[in-house]
């Protein structure tokens, strides 16, 4: 019974917090459910009901889809290399100071969302897919670096120690003892992250970082809803395909 009262109190507190939140928003609900909004949403729905399919547009769409795929792939790949490089000190093999500093760097890279990195990358290298690739690479380095560091820390140290005792160099010992041990886990983390990055690459473009997002932003801004609908469909198809592919690959790798 005491638990029930506690639950009830928690529920009441949550409701109170919600009321506070509703109250502090600008509360533009009237305009959200107004006639003009309804008419505009109607226009959107109409446009979405007949996606654009002319050949020239589809060609552009296909290119943007490939571009999105390339951004996600290259961004993840760079992040794998970068993540592994930072994971080496972050797993504590070069002392505690290096470990702390590397972890701090990883935390910083990870804490800032891809989209914010993308805005900065656009400032640095201009509009286009290169900015998106950089943004994904930087953020994902933070994510993968931490996961890699944990894998490295959790890997059994005996094979490495044994090679070292037999007089084999540190690099070779790492490469032939520790690395093969953690490789499957590293691969599965990277694959999982690639899947997420395809989604991210598809939307990064809304700040001008290339791919499908940039196209969507462009057509939505001009209220060309038919074109926007086609871009959205391409996004959904791309993400579903990558999901399926990734599931297949994962099943292969883990079996």
């Amino acid at each position: 019974m005491r638990l029930a009262w506690g639950g009830l109190a928690g529920f009441a507190a949550a409701l109170l917090f919600l009321a506070l939140c509703v109250f502090s928003l600008s509360g533009d609900w009237a305009s959200f459910f107004s006639r003009t909004a309804a008419v505009k949403m109607g226009e959107f729905v109409q446009g979405f009901a007949r996606p654009a399919v002319d050949a020239v547009f589809l060609q552009k769409l296909a290119y943007a889809t490939l571009e999105t795929l390339a951004i996600s792939w290259l961004g993840t790949l760079i992040a794998c290399v970068g993540g592994l490089l930072v994971a080496l000190p972050a797993s504590g093999r070069w002392g505690r100071v290096a470990r702390g500093l590397a972890r701090m760097l990883l935390n910083m890279l990870r804490a800032i969302p891809e989209l914010v990195w993308a805005v900065m990358a656009v400032i640095a290298v201009g509009l286009g897919p290169f900015a998106g690739t950089l943004a994904l690479a930087v953020h994902t380095t933070g994510v993968l670096g931490r996961l890699f560091a944990e894998s490295l820390e959790n890997a059994p140290p005996e094979p490495h120690a044994s090679l070292r005792r037999h007089g084999i160099g540190a690099v070779a010992s790492f490469w032939y003892a520790t690395f093969p041990q953690v490789l499957p886990q590293l691969m599965s983390y990277s694959m999982y992250r690639w899947e997420i990055n395809v989604r991210a690459a598809a939307i990064l473009g809304v700040v001008g970082a290339g791919g499908l997002g940039q196209m969507l932003h462009f057509h939505l801004s001009l209220f060309q809803t038919s074109e926007a609908a086609s871009v959205l469909i391409a996004m959904i198809v791309l993400v579903s395909l990558v999901d399926a592919l990734s599931n297949l690959l994962r099943a292969r790798l883990t079996s």
Binding site: G7, L20, S26, L66, A70, L115, V119, M120, T133, I203
Partner: protein, 277 residues
């Protein structure tokens, strides 16, 4: 060990590695071309200047009282957008899960198979939930911003719709993976679906349902910052403005605020979930 003739000690994995490397590098070139990959632009004169000036203006962070008040207000707005959005998501997900979960099927009990009409309805609801969550929240936000204008409401609705789809799916999974004997017994003895849900299915799964909802609230805070970049209110919208004006000091303050916000949400969420379990 004696090695005959010109046999040398070889790495047995050598062939596989070479093949993998060749495929990798072959794929690298089209990807580089498509992404207009050119690190030189990063070190180019123009961009180094722009980026250098921007990054240089980061320090020290802006701390004028007026600006700090603006940032704190924006951060609270972000929390409010996430919370109200999540509430709408629950309002979508709970009825949907209630209608779509198999454990509350009565026809299933007698025959072991669901009758045709309920099966169709349940599948249709699942498809609807998939549709809601398959479009990213930032895209919903862009659409709403264009339909109803800049502001919090677009962000709230975008979170509500996408997260409604996600919560609905997970609610169904949680309800169906729990031990549902009690609900089945109630239904067998003539209880209504709502009674079976309220007195059997819900109590069994409530901690897990609540805990996942809180986790999603935490995600919503992160998402609502990002959505601000397309004009959906909160901290992100302010950050976008400052970035457009290349006001680095303001950007740094807001980034710090964002990190603090996510950190606090993380703590609160972890604490609440600990209390629950």
């Amino acid at each position: 060990m004696h090695l005959a003739g010109d046999h040398k000690l070889r790495d047995p994995a050598w062939h596989g590695r070479v093949t993998a490397a060749v495929v990798f590098i072959a794929l690298l070139f089209p990807a580089g071309y498509l992404t207009e990959f050119n690190p030189a632009t990063l070190w180019g004169d123009a961009s180094l200047n722009a980026l250098g000036q921007f990054l240089g203006s980061f320090f020290p962070p802006e701390t004028a009282p007026d600006f700090l008040r603006l940032v704190i207000e924006a951060a609270w707005k972000t929390v409010a957008i996430a919370t109200v959005g999540n509430a709408i998501a629950i309002a979508i997900a709970l009825p949907a899960a209630l209608a779509a979960t198999r454990i509350l099927s009565i026809s299933r009990i007698a025959t072991g198979r669901m009758a045709a009409l309920p099966a169709v309805i349940r599948t249709a609801i699942r498809w609807l939930l998939i549709f809601l969550r398959s479009i990213p929240e930032i895209v919903w936000a862009m659409i709403f911003v264009r339909a109803v204008g800049l502001g919090d409401t677009a962000g709230v609705m975008a979170i509500g719709i996408t997260y409604g789809g996600m919560l609905g799916k997970v609610y169904i999974e949680i309800l169906e993976s729990a031990d549902n004997q009690a609900a089945t017994v109630l239904l067998q003895n003539g209880a209504g679906r709502l009674q079976a849900f309220w007195y059997a299915a819900l109590p069994v799964s409530l901690p897990e349902l609540t805990s996942y909802t809180i986790y999603r609230w935490e995600c919503a805070i992160r998402a609502s910052v990002v959505m601000g970049f397309v004009g959906a209110g909160g901290l992100g919208q302010q950050m976008e403005l400052s970035m457009k004006m290349l006001a680095g000091a303001e950007v740094l303050t807001m980034l710090l605020m964002f990190v603090a916000l996510v950190w606090i949400a993380d703590l609160v969420s972890a604490l609440l979930r600990k209390v629950l379990s």
